[in-house]
Assembly symmetry: C2
Homo-oligomer: 432 residues x 2
Amino acid sequence: MAAAPVPALDAAALARLADETVDHRFKGLPPDAAGTTVGALAAEHRNLFTGGFTTPVLALSAERLEHNLAAMETYTARHGLAFAPHGKTPMAPQLFARQLDRGAWGITFAVPHQVRVARAFGVPRIFLANELVDAPALRWLARELDADPDFRFVCYVDSVRGAGLMDEALRAAGARRPVDVVVELGAGDGARTGVRTEAECAEVADAVAAAPTLRLVGVAGYEGEVPDADYGRVTAWLRRLTALAADFDAAGRFADAGEIVLSAGGSAWFDAVAEVFAELPDLSSPVLKLLRSGAYVSHDDGHYREITPFNRVPGEGGLQPAFTLWAQVVSRPAPDQAFLNAGKRDAAYDLHLPMPHTVRDRAGEVRDAKGVTVTGLSDQHAWLRTDEGVGLEVGEWVGLGLSHPCTIFDKWQLIPVAEADGTVVDYIRTFF
Amino acid sequence: MAAAPVPALDAAALARLADETVDHRFKGLPPDAAGTTVGALAAEHRNLFTGGFTTPVLALSAERLEHNLAAMETYTARHGLAFAPHGKTPMAPQLFARQLDRGAWGITFAVPHQVRVARAFGVPRIFLANELVDAPALRWLARELDADPDFRFVCYVDSVRGAGLMDEALRAAGARRPVDVVVELGAGDGARTGVRTEAECAEVADAVAAAPTLRLVGVAGYEGEVPDADYGRVTAWLRRLTALAADFDAAGRFADAGEIVLSAGGSAWFDAVAEVFAELPDLSSPVLKLLRSGAYVSHDDGHYREITPFNRVPGEGGLQPAFTLWAQVVSRPAPDQAFLNAGKRDAAYDLHLPMPHTVRDRAGEVRDAKGVTVTGLSDQHAWLRTDEGVGLEVGEWVGLGLSHPCTIFDKWQLIPVAEADGTVVDYIRTFF
C-alpha cells in the first residue's frame, strides 16, 4: 500500500544548515574555508583531493547515495510497502528530506533524543521502534503532539508495566491527544526487547486499552534479532507477527485505530518482510505495512554487503557502498608496517576493521590497495600491514571501505558528498 | 623542572560556550530547557535525577574530576615533570583551561584538527604527538605560528621522507617561523610509529637539520606501545630515549633549540617515566621533561583502573572514575533479561562492556547493581543479564561504569558535571 503524500520538512530549518559557519567543529574540512558558510563552501565545488581538505576525511559518494535512495524507493513501491527508513543510522535531516521526497511515509528512530532532532526539522511522521517510559521525554512528546495536529507518532510497548508508566507520565503531563502504540512481539527466546508470547501480548494490549492516554494501532517487531536467523526462521517469526495482527483485529482491539500499523524490517531481511506482509488477509481497517530499513542509505563494505537481501534477489536491485574514509600514511617504520592518521575516532570498528581499497599518491595517481591490510586501530591511528614489495609511502592517501553505517555516521558531524571525480557538491550535517 | 606560567586561554571564546543555546544537538539535556543558554541552565543547578534530564545521560562527577586534576598536578610537580596532558581524550576547552590553571605546560594532541580546536580557544603551547605531513594542515599551522609569536608548537618526525614533505609544504606556504620537531623513537620492533633504530634517528635528525623550515628541539616517544610491556621493558626503552637525547646533545644537534624537549608518558607508566627522566644528566641547555598522560582527567572503571601506575605507588596518590552513564530499563522480557536505552552510540565498548554499579528506583532509592551484567550492546540498547531473584524493573535507572575515556568523551557533546547529590553545577562541551 503506497503511503499518502507527506508534507515537506521545515524548509527554513534545513536552509539554516547551509548558513552554519565552517570552523574547528568540523574535522576534515579545509582550514582555509574557516569563517565561510557551509552553503558557500558547497557552492565552491572544491575537489576532495586538491581543495585543501585535511586528513582524515570521510566522504559520501554522490552517485552511490542517489543510487541507494532510488533502489529502496523502487523496492518498497514494487512490494506495496510503506517505508519509514531508520533515521538513527544517519541522523541527518538532509537525508530525511531526500527519503521523504522519494515517497517515504516517515522516519523511524530509536530514542526520544533522535525524535527531538527530527522534530526540529519538521519530520511529520515518526515511528519510534523502542519502548518509551522516560517521563520528561513523554512530557515533551505530549506537548509536541498537542501543538501540531498533523504530527503522527507511533511507538512500541512491550510490558504491562511499561504501558502503566507511559499512562502515568502522560496524565501528569496533561496530554490531550493519546499516544499511538504498537505491541512489540519479541523475535524469540533470548532475543532483544519485545513480548515473548502471544498470551502476554494480549495482556499488554489489555493494559493499553485501559490507559486513556494510549491508543493501540498495531503490532511490530524486529526480525533482525531472530535467534540463529535464516530465511525459514525469519519468515516463521514474521508469520507469528502477521497472525498476531489478524488475531488482535478479529478481537476488535484496533477498533479505534483508523489505520492499522504492521511493522518490521531492518536491512538484512526485507525480502522476507515483503513476502510475508503480502500474505496478510484484509483486516477491518486499511493496514500500513511499514518497512524500517535504514542502513541502505550509505550501505557499506562489510556487514551489509554480506547480508543485504539483494544478494538473494539480485534481479530486484542492489545497493552500493557510499562511504570512503580517506586517511594519510604518516609513518612507515618497517618494511611490513605503515600507519594512517585515522583511528577509532574516525572509523567504525565494531563489526569489521576498515578495508583499504585505493591508494592515491601525491601526484593524484590512483592504484589498487592490494597487499595493504588494516590489522588494528588505536584512537587516532590505523595499523597497516603491507605485503612484501608493496610500495606504500609516507604522504600517500589510502581510501578505506568501512563496515556498519551506524558507527560510521556518528563519528562525523559534517560529511562532504563527492562525485566520482572528487568534486564536492554538498555537505551532510549529522546530529548525534 | 616546573614549567613557566602559561598565559590564560581566550576568555571570550570560553565564555561563548556558556552562550550556546541548549537544543536538540545535545542528547540527555532537559527538553524543557530548550532555548535557554548553557550558562543559564548551569545557573539553575538542576538535579540530574529529578531535573528533567532524559535517558541515557552521561555525567561527570564534579568531586572526582577535581580530585583527578589535583592528583596529577601534585604528581608531576613532585617529580619535576612538565605536563602536557593529552587533549585528544576529552577535547574539551573548559578542561584544558583547568589543566593549564593547575600548572600544565600546555596540551598534547594527536591530529591537526584537534590543534585547530585548541587554537580556537587560545591554547598557547601544543605538543602534537604524531607525524604531520598533511600539506593543508601545515599551511594552516604556518599561518598560525606566524600570526602569534607566543604560540609554541612541537611535533614528531620519524622519517627522512616525512621531514622532506614537511619542509616542502612549509616552504610552499611561505612559513616564516621554523616548526619545532622532536625525533620520535619507536617503542620496539612491531610497535607503533617512531624510528626503529638510533642510527636511523640520526638520519632523520640530519634531514631535519637540512630543512630550513624545521628546527630539532628534542626526542620523544610513547612507552605505552612497548611490546609485551612490563616495568623492566618500559624503563629499558625509556633509557634508550634519554640516551638518545644525551647523544644528540653531545653531537650538537640541539644547538639551536634553546630548550631541549624530552617527552614520553601515557597513563599506564608515568611512574617509570618519572624514574628514568630523573636520571637524565645535565645537557647543554635546560630540558623540558614533558609528561603527556591524558586519560587521568576522567579515569575509568575498567582499563585505566587496572593499569594506573598508582596501583604500584599508592602512597603517591590515586585517581577516581568520574563518569557514570545513566540509562533506563525499557524492557524486561524474561526473568533473566533486561534492556537499557543506551548502546554503542552512548558508551565505550572497545576495551570492556559497561559495568552496572547502581540501580536507582523511581522513588530515588539507590541500591547496588549486584547480579546485573551487561552482556552486549546494540546501537541503541544494552543487553542485561539479571541473576535469579534480582528485582530490576522497567523505568528504573541503572548507573554504568565505563572503560576507556577516549571512547566515552567522544560520544557526548555536552556533559553535565554533577555533585554527589546530583546537583549539576556545570556542562562540559566537547569538540570531536
